[in-house]
Symmetry: C2
Subunit: 252 residues, 2 copies
């Protein structure tokens, strides 16, 4: 397998392109070990640094990931299909199911690191909830793992005056979760808005989600609106982008 193609590209880029093409056509499947530095050096007659740079390209682009002392492997991307519309349907949480049970299918999403506290609202949250800045909010912060790997950090903010005394301020919110409890309080959500963007993680996010190099996060801010357009919850979610596909069905 000799290097070919665009001569203006640096050698490591050409080798990286070849490796990516081999992944694309399935020569190396998810979880497979890619050729090592020695293999690449021999096959392409290049220096170790060039071989390392080529493998680095695949890691930086999120195509492959290194396991220390073992090698570089094709990423095993088995994303969660997060169905934006179906998961928020009233049939879901209204029937006592958790929203996330619509995503994972047969696989089990596990909650850990639940922290519930009362804090004064950050400016951005107060703006969305249309409460006074620094007014008290109930803050629910939790982490979700799939197959032992953390995939999602979620922090919900609700007006403290609204949820005081309900199960929303407890660790376990009960069947159907926050939305079922809000409905019992007479302000169940009738509409949601999700805004998402993507960026590289902060150090802390990368640690908590155990992200590999070259893995962005998706940030989703969801606002739940009760009847009359009253905002009752803001939820900021940080998703491991290598673990999720977001899906939305839209009518024309």
């Amino acid at each position: 397998m000799a290097a070919k193609g665009n001569d203006r590209q640096p050698k490591y880029q050409r080798i990286a392109e070849e490796l990516k093409e081999a992944v694309r056509v399935g020569e190396y499947g998810p979880g497979d070990r890619l050729p090592g530095e020695n293999d690449i050096m021999a096959a392409h007659q290049v220096a170790r640094m060039t071989a390392r740079q080529a493998l680095g390209v695949l890691q930086n682009e999120g195509v492959a990931e290194a396991r220390k002392g073992v090698g570089v492997f094709v990423r095993d991307f088995q994303p969660l299909r997060r169905r934006g519309v179906q998961r928020l349907a009233r049939d879901q949480w209204g029937a006592g199911r958790s929203i996330r049970s619509a995503d994972a299918g047969e696989r089990e999403l596990v909650v850990d690191q639940v922290v519930v506290s009362e804090e004064s609202a950050p400016q951005a949250v107060a703006d969305v909830l249309r409460i006074a800045p620094r007014e008290a909010v109930c803050v629910r912060s939790r982490r979700f793992s799939l197959d032992g790997k953390p995939v999602l950090l979620a922090t919900s903010y609700l007006p403290a005056a609204l949820v005081a005394g309900s199960a929303i301020v407890r660790k376990d919110t009960g069947p159907g979760g926050i939305y079922a409890r809000l409905a019992e309080l007479g302000c169940g959500p009738v509409r949601f808005r999700e805004q998402s963007r993507s960026r590289m993680p902060s150090r802390d996010e990368a640690d908590r989600l155990r992200l590999g190099a070259g893995t962005p996060v998706i940030v989703i801010v969801r606002t739940a609106f009760a009847d009359g357009g009253r905002p009752v919850e803001v939820n900021e979610m940080i998703l491991d982008s290598s673990a999720y596909v977001l899906e939305y069905d839209i009518e024309a």
Copy 2:
């Protein structure tokens, strides 16, 4: 301004955290120049390499971007609000407006690099369009820029047999674009599915979108379905993540 905080963090990380906090509270606004290496060296009594690493953290996380020979600047994030539901409404393209005119507001999104060709369908496209592998598809590839900066690459695939002879195979598809023309052919879209994920860009994508370091792309694959659930178009979009917020409104 002396370094303080968690002593276990490396020095450059602590300095980076301070700078990020200063950005967060607005001490440095979008487009502002951050302190340079010399400023940081003097303020924190650190070596040039440490100052450089601290600024590198902000660039890698997409908080700031370097302009060669000038300095490091807070990112000027004025995202396009891409309203997933409203933009695909029949009132939009049915009235001869382009879908993207729902996004940009007052700002002008310019199309360039339009290439229309007939190709044999890649496997993944054939699967979605439910046509035979390697059957002919019309491929429309274009790039969109905002304020002179490329923000979106889009490639649409439609069954060639379906669109032959229509304006869909021409560079200018006319008012209302592809969807208005499909409606004239008796198979206008009634439903869409958007699937999005995020990853680091390939070299080619980074070049074509002129992405700064530490900028992921969002990949949206949209399928348009006609009456009876027939898939009539697949559109793969590559978005500069620093330019877009994706918004979806959802009924409970």
